[in-house]
Symmetry: C2
């Protein structure tokens, strides 16, 4: 613990000025002469003065901190994505003097608990909410409390809040059309259930492309997963067991796709010769997989940057409706998709 840090009082004393003047000089107020500002800046530099963050926060009634509360299954489900995303967030926040606070309470089953604790303790100025659902209790509560936040993903109340999302509908249209162009006619999908609003949108895109091509979508070829690879595996096994099995599967995310590929192999089906699989997210590991995973992707770094900027804007008073951004994903064609058998 540092003991000998110099306070604004020390600085004022050393300069023979009042702390009020020093404070305003450092903050560029108009009613301080240029000569004094220069003197103060020089002395601050020389004495190594660093304003105390705690004191600033108390005086400004602002924490300059934004909160990210992790879902209980964060590690298993969205591992790589989250690390890249939080890194991008933190990186975009720090030049503005903001910090990223990570909260996790596995113990408490209530999804609101973490948010409430951070708000009550006044530890954050706003939130980034990830993995949004269609009906999202966290979003409802934050809206009700008028707390700034930006959602990564839309919700049923998307019109009312700030969000950043990737156009899953379009993405899955593209992915499905890609498969259709390769000659596939029997295509299945594994969704994320109601764990992710985006899942429903992606399903719509899938169905649109199928309809447009006049292809049928049997009811049990749209199966509900839980975003995990394990579930992708079991659902994949269901898909592949009949004689009338699909020749291609689009998956709500990469983890699920990994599971589906494993299931295909279990049934002795080669990928992509006998079954094509497409994922969604573009995690780096997909490239090492066998076969390398074809997927829909969009720069995570940029997502983090955009979300961070939007949130800072909100905290400074911007209108949430001005920060709703829909981005397009791109098809990253690797080797898990190929011509229909």
């Amino acid at each position: 613990m540092r003991k000998e840090s110099v306070s604004i009082n020390d600085l004022a004393l050393h300069l023979g000025l009042s702390k009020a003047t020093v404070s305003r000089a450092l903050n560029g107020y108009e009613d301080i002469s240029e000569r004094t500002k220069a003197r103060v800046a020089a002395a601050a530099e020389q004495l190594g003065y660093r304003p105390s963050t705690s004191a600033r926060r108390l005086a400004l009634r602002q924490t300059e901190t934004i909160g990210l509360v992790l879902p209980p299954d964060a590690g298993e489900v969205s591992g790589i994505f989250l690390t890249e995303f939080t890194a991008a967030l933190a990186d975009a926040l720090s030049p503005q003097g903001f910090d990223l606070l990570i909260h996790s309470s596995l113990s408490d089953p209530n999804p609101l608990a973490g948010y409430q604790r951070l708000v009550e303790a006044r530890k954050v100025d706003g939130f980034v909410v990830i993995r949004t659902r269609e009906q999202d209790a966290r979003v409802d509560w934050l809206l009700e409390q008028h707390i700034p936040f930006v959602a990564h993903g839309r919700t049923a109340r998307a019109a009312e809040h700030a969000w950043f999302d990737i156009d899953g509908e379009a993405a899955f249209r593209v992915a499905t059309e890609h498969l259709i162009a390769l000659g596939h006619r029997r295509i299945a999908m594994i969704t994320g259930g109601d764990l992710l609003y985006s899942s429903a949108l992606r399903e719509i895109g899938f169905r649109q492309a199928m309809n447009a091509a006049g292809l049928p979508v049997p009811e049990d070829w749209v199966r509900e997963g839980d975003l995990s690879g394990h579930c992708g595996f079991t659902q994949g096994q269901q898909l592949f067991q009949g004689p009338e099995r699909p020749t291609a599967v689009v998956c709500v995310n990469d983890a699920t796709a990994f599971g589906v590929i494993k299931a295909a192999r279990h049934h002795g089906l080669r990928v992509p010769q006998e079954v094509s699989v497409i994922g969604y997210d573009g995690v780096a590991l997909g490239d090492l997989f066998d076969p390398p995973l074809t997927t829909m992707t969009r720069s995570i770094d940029e997502s983090g940057r955009v979300v961070a900027q939007a949130l800072l804007s909100l905290i400074r008073g911007a209108n949430p409706r001005e920060h709703q951004s829909l981005q397009q994903a791109e098809l990253l064609q690797r080797a898990s998709s190929g011509c229909a058998p």
Copy 2:
């Protein structure tokens, strides 16, 4: 932004007591009567009083926050591990009222920059340092400044600081002996170079087991990687190209192992029939891989908990030497290791 939050002054006024008494009552001081304590607690509950974190921090000269600064390549290299680890950290910290602050400055090439900024701004009470190297500038600096920290992994100066580590030497002895027991005699290793002190220790364990079994270790069968899957792939290709290729490879981490398996496949070598591969970390994705990855593992959750407790202890004044903990990893036998051909 909440406006109407009740302060300790409001509470004192409402009770007809001084704020000093209220403060001490809430903090359980001995010189406050039980009756008063009960009254204060009841009123606090009723009015929904929540102490301001900023004010507490200023008065206590403590931030109750610990910092984690991400390495620049965090997302690519140690994705899944990091999410699980930070979640575990945050989870263990929050019951003690501590928060986890994530910092990342990709822009600044200086590995110390993030630490210095957080310390100068007095934003944290201590650090968790990950991915330690043998000569680690961050550790040197933190020691010099007498700032509490616990390292995840040892360094050359391990005797001087608190650390949590997994016994990589023993782990790689176990992994190598496992392969030897399966009949392998030609075993290679891919290390992490000097990116990770643990890498050197793991190499020692590997060599020990080989020596004990009287097996030779050709110089170019210990190849240097960078912890990434991509590098595992290129190094694996080197290993497999000659006629005298190894029948098994132990890898410094799972990502590298994934790359090696891909390389094996590129050379038409089946895993594990013709080549066995063992990783290290035990990430969840390993189970979905084809074949599921045999690896050395240890509960990440528990690591996080132990590190968090150690750091809190340090901040409360404990001796760093009392918090040096070496844990044993376990062999997680899946399908990427099998009998020698």
